[in-house]
Each structure stands twice: as C-alpha cells, then as structure tokens.
Symmetry: T
Subunit: 158 residues, 12 copies
C-alpha cells in the first residue's frame, strides 16, 4: 500500500529511513532502560542520579517522536512496537532488580557512548542522501554526547 | 539483596506488587503502541486521532511512572525493560506499517477495553492487600475508561 | 440504539449510572442556583460571599462534567438538559429577586448539607457496583463538605 | 424591596433589563444544551465537535455572567434559576440520549441562528434605551455568529 | 505649535476631546480618592473593601491611560497634571483621616453614580462627533456601573 | 454554490461584506509593508522603529483574521490571496530596498492616516446595515489611530 | 458551644476526627523536624538531601491543611497549637545541632516508616466510619510511602 | 546606496541572498494562501483542517521573518511587498470562494511538495556559498516536509 | 563539633544568633497559631479573616526559613523542633476550639504587636554586631507591622 | 479619633510619618507628571522615552502604595487626595501641551534630582526615629537615583 | 568629560564608588570562576555541585549589574572589561583543567569567605558616605554568606 | 589526568576543541565588553542601545555555556578564567569611561564583524573533524551576524 508519498528519490529515502528506524529503536530503548534505572537505583547518590536519568528519558522520548515523524514524512512508516524495540535494541542496559548508583552511572556512560558511535556512522551515511535527516541526527548526537559527559564526569574516579 | 524495606507484610506486598508489575507492562505497552498508531495513522481523521492518541500516550506514561515508583516504594523492584515489556504485553495493537484511521480507533477501543478488564480484576485482588495500591488502580481505570469511551464514540456507526 | 459499549455488567452499570445521573442533576442545579445567589446577593458581606459562591459554581461545573463523562464512559447517556434539571432538582435554593447575604449563606448551608446526605447514600450504593464511580462520588463529597463548612462557619452565630 | 439603585430612568431600565433577562435565558440554555451535546455526541467527528461544543459552552457561560451582572448593575435582579431557564428557553436543542455528530452540528446551527435573530431584535430595541447594554449585545452577537458559521461550514454539504 | 495632526475635522475633534479631557480628570481623581480610601479605611469590612477599592483604582488608571492616549491620537494634548486634576475634579470623595468602612462604601457609590451620569451625557455628545470615542466612553461606563452596583449591593440595608 | 448561510438580509450583507473585504485588503497590505519596513529600516532610530513596526504588523494580522472570519460568518467568502491584495491595495508603502528611519516613520503616518480615513467611511456605511460589523470597524479604527499618533509624534519636528 | 454542624452521626464523627487529629499532629511535627534537618544538615550530600527534605515539608504542610479543614468540616475543631504538637508528637526526629547527612536520611526513613504504620491503622479504623476521610488518609499514605522509599534508597548500603 | 555591509564575499552573498529572496516569496505566499484556505474551508473536516492550516501559517510567517532578516544581515535588502509576492509566487493555491475540505488538503499537499522541491535545490546551491544560510533552509525544509506529510496522511485514500 | 565556620567574630556571632533564634521561635509559633485560627474561626467575617490569616502564615514561614538559614550561615545551628517552639513561644495565641472572628482579630493584633516590640529590641541589639542580620530583622518588622495594622483596622470600633 | 494604634512612641512616629507623608506627595506627583509626559511627548525619541516614562510611573505608584500603608501601619492616616497633592507637590514638572522629547528628559532629570535630594534628608531624619521607615526610604532613593541616571545619560551631550 | 552628574558630594561619591568598583571586580571574577568550576568539575557529586555553582554565577551576575549601574547612577563610570577584571581579581579560584568535586567545594568556600570579608569592610566604609550603597552591599553579603554556608556544609567532614 | 573520555579520535578532538576554546574566549569577552558598554553608554540613544547591548550579552553568555560544555563533552576541559580571557581576547572593545552611543554602536559592529570572520574560519576547520561542533558554530554565527546587522543598520548614515 503506497500511502504517504516521499519528497526524496527511492535510494536516498532508503538510506535516510534506515538510519531513522535504527535511531528510533535506540532512542525508545534508551527511554525504557533510562526509566528502569530511574526506578531501581539505590545508593547515596539516589536523588541526584534519579533526577538526571529522567532528563535522558525526556530527551530520548522527544527525539524518538521527531525521528519517527521524519520517517513518516519521507514516506516510510516507522516501527516502534514493543517486539520491534525488544528485538533490535542492543545497547548496554541495567540488569533486573535494584541497581547501585555507581552501576547505573556506568551503564549510562556505556549505553550513550555506543549510541553516539552509531549515530556518527549514520551522520556520515546520510550526508549525501538527505541533509535534512543528517541535521536531525547531528542534533541528537549533540544532546547524547552532553548527557554522556555528565555521567562520565559523575563517574570519577573510575 | 534486601535493599528497600517494605511497609507491607510479605503476603500483601506480593499481591500488590504483582498487580503493579502487570499494570506497568500494560501501560508501557500502551504508550508504545499508542505512539506507533500516532505516527502511522492515515485517513480523513488523521489530525483528530493523531492528537487523541498522544493523550493516551501521555496518560500511560505518567501512570506507568507512578505505578513503578509505587512498587519500589513497597520494596519490589519494577521491571520495565524492553524485553520484559515485549514478552509480557498481550493487549491488541496495530500491525506494522500505515494504519487507517478507523482501524486505529478500533484497535484502541479493544486494547483499552481489555486493559480495563484486567485492571478491574486487580482492583478486587488488592482491596484487602493494600488499599493504597487499589486506590491507584482505580484512578488508572477511570482514565482508561474515559479514553476507551472517546474512541468508542468516535467509532460510530460501527 | 446501542452505541457506546460498557465495561460493566448490566446490573452494576444500572446502579452506577443512576447514581451518576442523580448527582449530575444536583451539581448542575447547584451551579445554577449558586450563580443566582452570586448575582442577586446584597448586604454588608456582598463581596465576600459573592466570591465564595463562585467557588461553589466552579466546583459544581467541573464535577458535573466529570460525572456526565463517566456515565457516558459506562455506556449510559447522561441527561443535563434544562427541562431535566428543572424537573429533577430538589435541593433548597434562593427565591427570585435580591437575596440578603445572611439568607444566601443559610440556603447554601442547607443545599450543600442535603446534597452531601444524598451523595453519602450513593457512595454506599455504588461500593459493590463500581468502585471507580464510588471513588468519584467520594471526591465530590469531600469538596462539598468543605464548602458546606465554610458557609456554616460564616453563618455563626445563627 | 428597592435595593440596588439604577443609573437609568425607569422606562429605559425596563427595556434594557428585559433584553438582558431574555438573553440570560438563551445563554444559560445554550450552555446546558451545548454540554448535553458535548457529552452525548457519537460518530466519526466525535473529538472535533466534542471540543468545539465546549467553546460554545465557555462563551455562553462567560456572557451569561456579564449579562446577569449588567442587569443587577441596572437595578433589576436577574433570574437564572433552573425552573426559569427550563420554562423560558425555546431554542432548538438535542434530544435525550446519544446524538450523531451530524445531528449535533445541525442542531447547533439552528440554535445559534435563532439566538442571533433574537439578539439582533434586542440590539434594535436597546439602541435608544441604553447604548451600554446595546454594546454588550453586539459583542455577544459577534461571537455567536462566529460560532454559527463554524458549525455551518462543518455542516457542508448539507 | 501644531504637532500631532488629527484624523477628525475641527468641530468633531473639539467635542470628542473635551469629553475625553473631562473623563480623564474624573478617572485620575477616582484613582487618587480610591487609593485614599484604600489606605484609610477602618472597620469590620476592612479587608473586603480594601481589596475592592484597589479594583476601582486599577480600572480608573487603565482607562485614564486609554482616554489620554486617545485624545493625543486625535491631536489634542491631554492634561493630567496634579493642579489640573485638583481644580477640575468635583466627584464626592472621602474626608481626610481614617474612614469607616460604611462611609467608604457610601462615598464610592455616590462618586461612581455621579461619574456615570456625566459619562452618559458624553456618550450622547460624542455620538455624531466620533463613534470611536463614544465606544470607549461606553466601555468605561459599563465598568463603572458594575463597580457602582457592587458597592451599592454591599451598602444594604442603607 | 450557496454554502454558508447568512444571518443578514441580502442588502445588508452586501454592504457589510464589501466593507469587510476592503478592510481585509488594507490590513493584509499593511501587514506586508509593515514587515517590509521592519526588515529594511536603517538609521539611528533603527531599533526603536523596528520594534514599533512589528506592533503594527501584529495588530494588522490579528484584525485581518477577525475581519475575514466575520465575512465568512455573514456568508460571503473573503479573498486574501496574494494577487487580490496586490491588485487592490492602494495605501502608501515603502520603496524597494533600504529605508531611512525618518522615511519609514513618514510612510507609516501616511498609510495609517489614509487607512483610517477609509475606515471612517465604512463605519458610516455599515451603521444601518450591520452594527456588529460597525463595532468591529470602530475597534480597528481606534487601534490604527493610536498607531498613527505614535508615528506622528515620533515624526516631530517635521 | 455547638458551632459547625456535622454531616456525620456522632460515633462516626468521633472515629474520623480522632484519626484526623492524630494525623494532624504527625504532619505538623514532620513539617517542623523536616525543616530542622533541612537547616542543620552537613556532609557531602548536603545539597541533595537539603532539597529533598523540603519536599517532605511541603507535602506535610499541604496535607496538614487538608486534614485540619476536613476535621472542621466534620464539626470538630482541630488542634495544631505549638504545645499540642510538642506534647503529642512521638515520631523519631533529629537531635539538636548539626546533623550528618547519613543521620538525616536515617531519621527520615524511621519517622516516615512509623508515620505510615500509624496511618495504615487509621485507614482501617475509618473505613466504616467515613470513606471520605479514609480516602484522604490513603492519599497521605501514598505520598509518605513514596518519600520513605526515596530516603531508604538513598540510605543504601546501610 | 551601500548601507548594511556584508560578512560574505560578493559571489557568495549573491547566491545566498537569491535563495533567501525566493524562499521569502514562497513563505509569504504560503502564509497568505494558508489563511485563505483557513477562512474559506467548508465540509465535515472544517474544524480539524481549519486549525491545521493555521499551523502552516504560523510556521510560514516565523520562517519568513528569519529569512528576511538573514538577507538583511548579509547586506541585501529583502523584498516582501504585496506586488513582489503576487508577481513571484507560483505555488499551487486555492481558488476564490469556498473551498471543500478535501480540496484544501489536496492543494496544501501540492503547494508544500513544490515548496520543498525548490528548497532542496537551494540547499544544494548554498552549501558552498554560505553554510549558515544552508542550515536555515534545512530547518525550513524539515518543517514543511512534516506539514506536507500531515496533509498527505489526511488525504488518504486519494 | 565545630562544623560550619563563621564569618563573624565570636561576640558578634553570639549576639546575632541569639536574636535570630528568638525570632525563629516567634515566627514558627506565629505560623502555627495563625493556622490554628485559620482553621477554627467562625462568624460573619469567616472568609475574609480566614484568607488574611493565611497571609500571616505564609510570611511567617518564609521569614522563618530565611532566619534559620542565616543562623546556619553564621555558624550556629538553629533550633525549630516542636518541643523548642512549644517551650520558648510566649506570644498571645487563640484558645483551643472554635474562635469567633472578632476574637481571632484581637489575638492577632496582640500577638503581632508583641512580636514587633521584641523585634525592635533585636534591631537595636544587632546594629553593631551584624548589620546584615539587622537588615533582615528590619524587613521582618516592616511586614509584621503591616499585618498588625490590617488586623487593627479590621478591629474597629473596638 | 484614635483608631489604629502605633508600635512607635509619639516623637518617633511624628518624625517618621512626616517623612512618609512628604514622600507620598512626591511620589504621587511624580506618577501624575510622569504620565503627563508619557502622553504628550513628541520628537524622534518618542517611543523610547514614552516607554521609559512608564517605568518611572510604575515605580512611583508602587512605592506610593508602600509608603502610605507604612504610615497607616504606624498609626497616622496618609493623605493622597488630589487637592493635597496639588498643594504640596513642588518638584519640576512639564508644561501644559505637547512636550519635546529633550525637554521631557530634562524635566525628569531635574524632578528626580530634587526628589532624591529630599529623600536623602529624610533618610537622615528617620535614622534614629525608625530604622524600618529609613530602610524603605533608602530603597526608594536607590530606584529614583537609577531612573535619574538613565534620563541624565540619555540627555548627553547637554 | 563630566557626563553623568552625581547626587552625592565629591568625597562621599569617591568612597562609595571605590567600594562599588572593587565589588564589581569581585563579582565578575566570581561569575567567571564559578562557571569555570561548573564546566570542569568531576567526581561523584558532579551533578549536585554543577547545579549549585550556577546559582552562585547567577547571583554574581545579577549583583554585578546592580553594582555597576549604581556606580553609573552616582556619576562614576564602572569598569568591567576583561583586562580590568583579570588584573584586579584576587580571590582564590580553581586551577586550569578538570577539578575534583571536593576541590571545587573547597575553593568556593575560600573565595566566598574572602569576598565576604572584603564586603564587610566596605559596609563599614560606606556607612557615612552613602547609606544607599551600604544597603546594597549588605544585600550582597547576605547572599554570599548563604552561598558560603552551603558549600561549607557540603564540605563536611573536612 | 585522563578524566572525561572522548567520543572523537584524537586528531578530530584537537581540531574541534581548539575551535571551541577560541570561540569561548570570544564569547566571554563579548559578554564582558557588551556589559561595559551597557553600563557606560551616554547620548540620545541611551535607552535603545542600552537594551540592545543586553541582548548581545545574553546571547554571548548562553552560547559560551554551550560551547564550554561541548568541549568538556569531547573530553577537553574548557578554560574561561579571567586571566585566560584577558590574555586571549582580541576583539575591538570600548575604552574605559563613558561611551557615546554612536561609538558604542560602532565598536559593536566591529567586534561582531571580526568575531563572525573568525567563526567562519572555524566552521571550515571543523567540517571534517566534527560536524556536531560545526553545527554549533553555524548557529552562533547566525546569531552574531543578526546582531551585527542590527548595530550596522542603527549606524546609518556612517
């Protein structure tokens, strides 16, 4: 069913929308594991990290919405259903149960580090295909790198 | 690891926290499939239902947070990780790809109807165990029943 | 015409929706007679009671909306048309024309006292039928009892 | 009981306050039947018209308050009690029970059309008697004509 | 010095701007005597009338600004200097020193009553000369009549 | 295609809607040339006039919306398309390219002066046909006369 | 002096108002000792716990107001005078002088744990006597249990 | 008259400012025809599309302002006068008179599709000349593509 | 335990912090007895004084916080525990049970009068020791003298 | 009539309240002549000074209210009636009619300079009598000196 | 160039403005080194101290603005240029590069302690010269002493 | 001390962070000299330029924060200490003492022109190294070019 038409030629659309779908999964996954840590964290930095994790969740949710709507705008239906996210999400994430504050910080540094690495590949990949999509990926990277730094600075001395 | 102590005796805590964990899965799942429909809906009621779906998502996210924090407050770590949600979520949800507006309305009626049915069982189950948890489940039911009615009224004539 | 389906079995729905319809009439009536007193009050406490009456009207309007939408959500169309309200409304209310401030206070004490008495009966009646509806009636009672006290305290010495 | 003195001579006050009392009944009636339709509407335009009806209700309530207080300011106590509204209100209004969206739109076009027609007669009637009252009636007409147009445009093709 | 040009012919401008200048004096005077009463009131209704008087002051100040700017817009410089106001202001006003609450109410009823009477004459006078100025005077009258009623209703039984 | 019905008889509607259509063109034109001056102004009063021009644009846009919707409410479709505005707009406006601040002030005085002159004719023309439309034109005139004065006062000594 | 009448029979009122009076003392006490800790806390978590303690104080103050007004609404004057609070307050509280952050956390866990235990008894006690009062006690318990969890999670490893 | 100096060399400035001027015309034109459709739309989706069109108008106006000010900042006076817009604007737009909702949706899809196509050419053209201008054009494209998708999704099945 | 160091020499710190501790007790006591009166007041001025009392409570709470934090900032831990307040608080306060409005006014006049008298002594005492503390005591006195006047004016004729 | 009692001995009260009454006249006078200049200013700095004058008026009005209420709080009724202000106000002020922008600036510099000089004398006079009143006069001086500087800086080169 | 005239005699102005200039340098320096620490802090208290440092920066910036404008108001141009600040600023400040959280806390305690010591000398110095300037320095001291305490309390055990 | 890890390879990080450090110095310097001009400006455009300069300061401060945090996020500690800024800042800036308004405008044009020139070099330099940093530099350039234009337009005729 060809429904929403695209403003991009087929090749460019394919490149851009694959980058967007992969980013969507990372962001929805981050929003879920960020909340998981927000709820289960324990330790003397509970309040401080509990609040900081919610900023990651808010950023991840807002960008996920923009990313999914951009894919739709380019004519490709995004997929953010639970089973899709569960299958495709591969970033580090906290274990089941209570999480020590230092472990929560560590896992967020790693998850964000890996998410940023993957975003930078997609920034390269979309440069020719669609500078508008690339610009969105750049904005997401800027935010996630900032969040990564904050957890990394909190994580000192390792 | 016994971490956060409970204000409830063991039996009551078990009943309350199972009800909360099951509700958490339903709400997180609803927030994901609500967004899925929000992004992929097509048809002459696009804008109207697109906006209404976001109200379900907002309600589901806010209640999920309250439900998970209540479980933690009772001493049981909640589980909202992607794989947990994917495995345990069983409410009706939209197919992959574009969704006609009438189909989106229909699937939300069904998903909310089933969610409400399960909540009413948990309201009964928690009455003795923990009236505080029961009161939260009642509030969630009131909101989901209201949302269900709005989609059902929109869905006329079936 | 079976239009909006219910999440309650027939018996429970009947009990709940009768309680809601009766409450709707009381609240719409209170909002009208509250405004009547708000406009027609005279006397040295004019400004003070004029403002307090508007708080009753606001509460009555907001709860009326919630009550009517809950009835719809349970599958029974609420009835708030002028002729229905006029016929079914039986709470004490001010006479036509200017109203002395002390009389306005007295009539509000009586109207709210009676409204609360009827609400408490409905709280009992809906306990089994629908705890969600009961919870709403409890919230309305809390507010009207607070308003009643304020007029009663104002009314001293009688 | 001569209570609040007037700034108008007797004849002018009589003309102005009759126009205000009749307008008060129309507005209170509109606010009730607007809510009635808001609660009972069904059909594919449910959400859109449900929201639009609340704008009529808000406008009707706000203008009713201004109209009633203006009558009081001119020395004539306004009458907005349930039985008065029920007896004097003659604008078209929805039947009991669920209302199809197209029927709700149609009845609002007719009710507003008739309300505007009556307001325009009162604008003429009050021109000499009280230009301040006339100015208020003009403002109400402007708003109701705008609301009427919106429902009429929605109602196409008839 | 012909400075700001007018959009009105000379005769009309003269009529409109005299009405505006006289209204300006009344409003600035009201704002000063309203504050005087606000500061000096004593008695069991202190707080209630103290707050109500500030609403008169706010209205008088806002309208004074609009009236003066309208005169300037019509090419006639308004005059609101202390000596002008003192010389031209003739409305009833409180005596020096503490003022009983009932006296404050009474003097506001009289001052507003007289202010309204003069405004109604200016509404007639400006109808032909400038309907834009007339419309402003109508709006001021509506507000002052409302304030007058509130003090009059408070003043019962006289 | 007879689409939106009118609440006015044909003759009155014709008079009112011609006045509204002409006003719409003036206001849309003013909003465009006001922005043109806002962007191209140079000189020592750049910031001050740059900001003031935006107030004219905001007023012109808001009134244009009200005027067009009033025409639709009276059953006549308004026309604000680029070619219509370009063809019918005749008020003084700035030349292409940079504009000195004193020239910008001067052209706004002239444009507003002429706009007001035309509005005053339409106020007369619509008095009998539709006092509701007349009241809107009076409000627009009040605002444009105020804006005109401000530029004129700024323009001293000429 | 029989002053404010009750909407409850004597027995029920007695049960409800004793529960409310005891809760009032606990909440006022908590608000005072929460502030005491807020001011005197020292240690590396100073800022984090300093802020968290103010959230307890705010919650305690707001609920104290609701609880006291509910008692008044039921016809029994609440008692929150300094000597009453000092005599009746028995929850754990910080010593005089500076308080280490870990000690402040520990004392809040214990105070809230005990407060919750007492509230749960009152929830049982008021179920029959007054479901409206019970509902308020449930809401307070939900909030205090959440606050208790946050301090307990902060307090790990003990 | 060389007035505002540029931070770009002549060639780059010429490329950038032609792209900006062409974009300005498209955006001002879109804001006018968006309003035209907003006012004249009729049909069962009136309210929904009426509101959506205003979002296009707001976006077009805001971006037009940024685009014009960027041109001025680069030393080239922008031209947004009515005659310039009328002459240079070539995007599809609604006919005179009432517009069916489906036609309004269709014309917006086409106008936005064409606007986006032209913006993408300018993104390429300005890449070397001025990455700052390019970045602005990318932002506009992102927004217009989102708007285009929303109308296209609404337009299903075509 | 020497914990927070002071910026004042020992003598000055002792003078300043005794003044602050005594003021803290007065303010916390006032906030409790102000609420006590707020809840228990009865009589025809119920609403007016009920609201005014809350302004005293808000001021007392805010200043108490500033006073206590200033003491901590000067290196002396403040003491605001229930038993400390109960023991040290000596201002007039309402009896147990319902309080007539005139009695509530009277007791507030006396309590504030006495509080002001004590503050003025502390203003003298701290002038040399710490002008920063003195400045805070001056600000508190200004507010309490204003509150005292308002109750005193309300209390006329005595 | 001894109405509101004082917290100051007679001598101190006399000194403080004379300073307050004189300041009240200066501030009310400034608020009137500031508005006079605000309305009548002409010249190329019209908008800039027109706005700045309103900041003086706002400051003067707010301080006048605080000053008058402080006098009442000290037991002396303040006098701000038109005739009192006109008789006692001696600061430089603009002539009748249009005022050139440079003249408006000049007169404000002089009026504020003189007002500040008088305030500084009152600061000295009240130091012993009432440090609370002195503190208020210091705050007024700070604001008026800031306003004076802004006009003086605007007035360069003289 | 004698530009802005003073309201103080020469000697007093010299004393006041030297105190202000020295304070300006301290505050601008604090705002820069506060930001330096805000950006470079690492360690387990990263988030908590990162946020607290921004409160110091905000306070320092706001007071710097007030201090500089007060100097200008007294006729002496303030100097806050980079080279001036660098040369004159002598408070302790963080080293280049990453800063451990405990070191950041320690350096802020020392910097604020020293800043307060210098401010207290200036409070003495300006008492005779200008009580208005003194009052500003007192307000700054109150805030910096509060900030100092918060870092000192955080710094426990040292 | 390797503290915060980078998401960039060493070469790219070096290029990006040098560009960021240089930009940080320019922005902090601009914020200081912008305030210097804000405080010391004199002349007939005082108020207008005084306000405009604060917009530059706000923009410079906000971007400085983002730039410094981005450097930290890339693993290089930013340096914004007073001595660093003083040593490295080379943009044109105002002299010591009062500044004529025309001179202030001129120096801001020059400072912003030079800042933009340097930013454009850094945009080129970072394109390969880090598109995320480049995107931030582009945003800063857009804002500073807009500010530059506004002062340049104000500066006409030169």
């Amino acid at each position: 069913m060809t429904t929403v038409r695209s403003t991009l030629p087929d090749d460019a659309r394919k490149v851009a929308c694959e980058a967007l779908q992969d980013t969507l999964v990372d962001l929805l996954g981050l929003s879920l594991v960020g909340k998981q840590a927000h709820w289960n964290i324990v330790g003397p930095r509970f309040r401080s990290i509990h609040l900081q994790l919610d900023e990651v969740v808010t950023a991840a949710r807002d960008f996920a919405d923009t990313v999914a709507e951009r894919s739709a705008a380019l004519g490709v239906p995004p997929d953010g259903r639970p089973e899709t996210v569960a299958k495709a999400f591969t970033l580090p994430s906290p274990e089941e149960g209570w999480v020590r504050d230092s472990d929560a910080v560590q896992v967020m540094v790693e998850a964000l580090q890996e998410a940023v690495g993957r975003l930078r590949e997609r920034i390269d990949a979309t440069e020719k295909a669609d500078p508008v999509t690339q610009d969105l990926l750049i904005a997401i990277t800027a935010e996630l790198e900032k969040q990564r730094w904050m957890f990394d600075a909190e994580n000192f001395p390792r």
